[in-house]
Each structure stands twice: as C-alpha cells, then as structure tokens.
Symmetry: C2
Subunit: 460 residues, 2 copies
Amino acid sequence: MDIYEYLTAHEDRFVQELKELLRLPSVSAQSEHAADVAHCAEWLKAHLTGLGFAVDIHPTAGHPVVLASRRNRPDKPTVLVYGHYDVQPVDPLELWESGPFEPTIRGEHLYARGATDDKGQLFTHLKAAEAWLATAGELPVNLIILLEGEEEVGSDNLGPFLSEHAEELKADYCVISDTSQFAPGVPGITYGLRGILCFELHLRGARSDLHSGGYGGVAPNPLHAAVELLAGMRDARGVVTIPGFYDDVRPLEAWERRQWAALPFDPLAYREELDVPALAGEEGYTVLERLWARPTLEINGLAGGYAGEGFKTVLPAEAVAKVSMRLVPDQDPRLLAEMFINYVERHLPRGVRCRVSSKHAGKPILVPVDSPGMQAARRAIARGFGTEPVLMREGGSIPIVNTFREVLGLDCLLLGWGQQSDRAHAPNERLALKDFHAGTRSAAALLGALAEVAPQAAND
Amino acid sequence: MDIYEYLTAHEDRFVQELKELLRLPSVSAQSEHAADVAHCAEWLKAHLTGLGFAVDIHPTAGHPVVLASRRNRPDKPTVLVYGHYDVQPVDPLELWESGPFEPTIRGEHLYARGATDDKGQLFTHLKAAEAWLATAGELPVNLIILLEGEEEVGSDNLGPFLSEHAEELKADYCVISDTSQFAPGVPGITYGLRGILCFELHLRGARSDLHSGGYGGVAPNPLHAAVELLAGMRDARGVVTIPGFYDDVRPLEAWERRQWAALPFDPLAYREELDVPALAGEEGYTVLERLWARPTLEINGLAGGYAGEGFKTVLPAEAVAKVSMRLVPDQDPRLLAEMFINYVERHLPRGVRCRVSSKHAGKPILVPVDSPGMQAARRAIARGFGTEPVLMREGGSIPIVNTFREVLGLDCLLLGWGQQSDRAHAPNERLALKDFHAGTRSAAALLGALAEVAPQAAND
C-alpha cells in the first residue's frame, strides 16, 4: 500500500479523530476555558506520542506550547510545521446551526469552531506524518511540530518561546497551514502579506464640552478638525496624499499582473457579495492588485460628541480617531510612522491640539517564489489537489510569519487548505471534507518533496 | 415708602424665600423627582395666592403649569411673564461644593441648582409684584404669570397649553428672564436668537464589518465617506460651502457692528478661558458677530468602527454623524434642510449609501429694538441696575420664544439678570445676590414702564 492509498483508506477515521479534537472548547480568549485549552494540549501530546513523536508541553506566561519532534534523518532537511490549537470565541451562539463544539457534517462540510482555523488544517500534518510512518516506516525528513495555544489572542508568548528554544527549533523549512486557497478548486501558495501600522489620534478642543449655540462658530470643534485632517489624507482618486507614502512601494512585476489577471475572480460578484453600489480604492489597479500589492490608509474608528439616540447640540471637547495602514514591500513601518506624524503636525486645523501615537506595527512579507521550498510546495499541492496551485498574496498581516522571520530567520511556506468562505471567526465555521483530505495528501507529498532538496539549498 | 425703598428693606427676606424655593428638588428629567416637581408647583401656587393672585395649577401630559393672574387694570396693558420652575439634574454630584438643594451663600453668590436657571430669575417678578401691591395697593398693569415645569425637558406640552388657553393668555407684552446679562456690570436686552436645524446621517458600506487586511483598499469605508462628505461642507476659511447657505442671511446693520465692537469683550481672555491655541470660525467677522449673527454648521457627534482602548482593524459597516446648523435671520429651516439633503446626495463618495434625516428645527428670532416694549425695558433696567443695558443677541436658540411667537403672536422681551458664568446646567450653579436684587428692581420698574405705554401700541 503506498502512502496515498493509505490516506484514502483511512479518511473516515481521520475525520472521526478530527471531530474529537474539535469537541475540545479551547477558546484562548476566555479564562473560563483555560482548563479546556490545557486539556487540548494534553490531547495533542497523547496523539503525537501515539504517532511516534517525542512530545513536550511547555508552559508559558499564557497557554502552553506543544512541541513534538522526530529526528531520525540526519542526512535530510528539518521541517518545522507551525499550527495553533486555540480557537476564537463562539459568540453569537444563537447563529450556529449546530453546536460549535459538536462537530457536524452537513453536505460536503464539517462544521465546528476551529474546523478551518486552525485545528482542521494543522491536523493534516499529523495525519501526513502518520501515513509516512505507517507506509515507509520512517519520515522522509526530520520533523518538528510546534502547536501554539495563543494565536487568537495575539501570540504574545510565541516570540520569547522561539528565542528560548532557537537551537531546538533550528530548521530548513517552516510550513504554516493557516491561510486559504484562492477559491474552491483553486489551491494557492501565499507568497506575500501586507504589513500593518496603527495610529491613535486624540484631538482636543476647549477644556470642556460646549453648547453649540453659545459657542458654535467660534470655539474649535475637534470633530471638524478630525474630518478635515483625515479627509485630506486621501484624494478623490483614492490615492494617499501623505508625502513619501508610495516612495518605497515595489512595483508589481509583469508576471504578477498577468497571473493575477488570469485568476478566476469576478469583481461584480465580489461587489454584490459585499452589497455595495461600487467598490472603493485607488484608481489604476485591479481589485486583487489593490488588495494584495497596494498600501492603504483606512479609518478604523472615530468617536466624538454624542452619536446616540436623539440629539445633543454639543461641541465636544475631544475626538478620537483610529487609523491603520496596510503596508507592502518595501515600505518600512518606522519611516511611515514618521511620515504620518509629520503630516498630522503640518495639517492640523488651527485651534485644536492633537496627540498622535503609533501602535503596533508589522512589516510586509514577500518571499521568493522560485526557492527550492516553494518548488517543492508547488509539486506537493499539485499532487494533493490534482491541480497546480496559483501564486497569491494576502491583504492581511500574519504577525507570526514576521516572528519566524525575525527570531529564527525562516521564511514560511504559507499553504492553506481551507477557503475564504469557511467562516473563520464567525458562526458556522466549517471545512470542506475534500479540502481536508486534499490538504492531508499535500502535506504528505510535501514531506517527500522537501526531502529531495539538499538542506544547504533551503534558505538562502 | 416708595417701591425701591420697599425692595431694599426686604432684600434679606426675599433671599430667605428664594432659598425655600431652591430647596425643592424639582428635577423634571428624573421620574423619581415627579412628586418634588408637583410639590414645587404647589409651593408657587401658595406663594402667589398669598401675594394676591388668582392661581391655578394645570395638569399636562407631563409636569403641571402654574398660571397666576391679577387683572384689575382694564385701562392698562396686560403683561405675560414666563418662567420655569423645573431644574436640571445635578450630576456629577461630587463636584458640588455645597449640596445642590441646600442653598448656600458664599461670598457674593447664592449657590444652588436653579439659582440662575430659572428659579432665581423668575422669583424677581413675584417680588416686584409684591412690592407694587405693598406700596401702591395695586399693580400698574394686568399681570399674568405662567410658570412651566418642563423647560429642561423640551417644553413638549407648552405649545398645546398655550393653544388651549390662548384667550386667557392674551397679552400685550411677554417677558422672559431666562437669559444672561452681557457681563457682570453690563446688563443687556437680548433682541436676537439663532435658529437651529439638526440632521442625522447614517452611512452604510458593506453588509457587515470587514477585516481591514482582507478588504482594505477595495471595500468602501463609511467612515472615510463621512469624513470626506463632512470636511467638504466647510472650506479652509470656515465658510460653509453648501450652495445657497448664505443667500438669505440678513447683513449686520452698521449700528450693530459699531455697538458690538464697543462691548467690553476681550477675545484673548475668551480664548484663554476656553484653553485653545486659536479660535475657529468664519473669517472676516469678529467673535461676537460670528456668535450672534452668522450661521454655522457643526458636527455634534460622529461614531463608527472601534474607538475604544486597544485597536480593532475593522472596516465598519456603518457610521453615524450628527450635524447641526445655527441659523440667523432670515434663513428658513425648511429651505436649509433641502439644501443640506441635496448637498449630501450630490457629494456622497461612491460605494456607500446614506440615509439623512432632518431632526428638530427652530427659526431664528430678531425683534425690533425700538418698539415701545423695548424702550420700556431699557428704562427699567437702567433704573434697576443703575446703568443702561446693551443690546445683544445670543448664539443659542430658545424654543419657547418661537412658541410664544407662533401660538400667541407675541414677541418676547428677553431680560436676563444672571451671568453667562453662573454655571447653569453645571455643578455649583449660582446667582450673584446683587444681580438678584437689581433684577427685582428692574422687574418692578418694568411693570411701571409698560403701564405708561398705550396697549394698542404694544404689538404692531
């Protein structure tokens, strides 16, 4: 029996095991679930031990890290697989058609909290290892499996953990299955992520709220200052006006524009799905280009005065605005923060004071698409899904990818088996069973493909 | 003993009686004080009956109206004095230096909730009547005293009450002491009020909140639409850009500009009091001109996305903005509402939908400054305060003034005895004892001065 026959033969059992894992309510954000998170770590330790891994549970300041390894191939590369076993809270519970921790198959999908994010995806790598051990007697590479319990609450303790265990975690490749395919039937490899940079602005007018009758037309209104300041940051074509903003943006390469234009993407259906009369954004770029390769400036929150029921004729003393940028290669968050703060200082309407602070920042990511690891991943996905993967980017930021880059010096292979439409973080989260099985086949093929690459060629 | 000697001789007793009235916590906004409001109406009925008035308490759908009258001068004009005996809530209680309902004299002021707004001011008219009756044996005019218990909650039942009792309330003059002097030592008559027009805008983007990574740069952001739309409504010189906005604004007359420029007003001290680096507003007009005679457009509330502690990288599905205009003669709220709604429709950024509704509206007020009633009021204040009053306007709106105009056809004489700095609606509300006594003398002089004007000349 070859490895793919083994995987096919055991599909039903794998789903039963995954259901067991999904029944554990490992919600990291809610302290009443702390014991459930710990229990989930124990379940994984037992399961990995059963497969033949050396496994430790490492306590952290938050939830524990499960670290498993099997290193019997000194001549072969070492692969580090990252996943997270914690899940998002389930509210609003009343919108779930079946219990979030009662995994249920309806049609082609398995429904449960964590089905796609990330238990269902991480579990494919465990089953891939099982299949190698069962059919070949040994893994084709040295394999480290690192399972975090705090991804949904910011991975605060992951950086320190990686630093402390840097020697133990030394690897040639890092693999993360926590993204999505491009679309159903169109698997993809994510080779770029936007960075992020967040700002908070506190605008202050008079020493206290004022009556708009007694003071309107004379007292500075921090809400007006806020709208003038923020409106000025983008022009009518959706272009950010902050001087220097686009200076370090790497232009799209010809092959990227060509390949993306060929992707099965329908802007009209996308717009209808959002239920908006028109899409927004920078002129001169397609939707995917705007999402994946162009930087943005967006207001994420704005508050001041009275916006509740009824009316208060108040000139508020203060207003708060939250603004974030999505950055693309090669924009540097430190430089962008300076540009933003300079802009605010120069364009602040008279009469108000403004305190601006930059909050968390993450660099954009772009990895070479022709590295040996990427080539191995393409072959593996073609084998697992039966079709060549597309090269895609993502508009969001994945902070842990930066952490792996900065602490361990590893570029991650971002191989997502799920779909954008799988409702991660939302009610009725799900994973298509065929994506689960294709992902498992791909994960198995990946270990074989990476074994064929000389370790010294891996990260250069 | 003449009437002014009488007033001087009884100053201390008047203050004691006012303290009794101020001890009654007639907070109209709070249902737990409903019995206190009713009790206050009873106190006033008893007091007015003791003075020699015919008094009725009229229930309304809300708090009662106290209506007192004494009509023994068929040959003389009828004067309607309006006041309100309800008061604002007292929160935040901890900022009061003495209990809000424990009237306390410190220095030159009497401190209590309602001291200036409006119990202390309305009470001057009761004591003026007392002095006439005690010294002349009769009032010099027919006097109606109308005391409302719902001014602080919007006077919802006043209009219907005036309509139902229009015949009984027929008068030649209407007097309200619920405004302020221009400044300490500078009494004034308010001859103009700005109108008001309020709008609520609901801007809607996608069908739900979106992740700013996954959708930023493509999905319409209703917060950006709001800031663009609102920022465009005023230009850099503080001028409102809505077409037609200034069309019906009556230019200031030469005497107004001259007299206002001569008022003891220090823009620097005003700015320092507000604690702002600069004042705002329309270029080309002085502070008082901007406050009293120029229309405004101000944002009173704005909310969307997440503006609390921390950061949420959300593209909100909706945003709410509250906007109000202060209108000046001869702007018509109905026309201005159309202009605003047209502007929003024409300038709404693409990709968002906007629902705009106009909320309550009040017309601006401007009364002739040379009418017989105004001339009588000037003489009365000069007698009571020992100095000529200035002619002033106010930036705010007083809805009941419109109600008297519309229902009874009466222009009001707005004669305020208190100060802007008396902290109406705020902790440590107060009234200077000398303003109380000067106000009482003025109220007494006013009855005499109005008696000298032929009734037929009163309202034309």
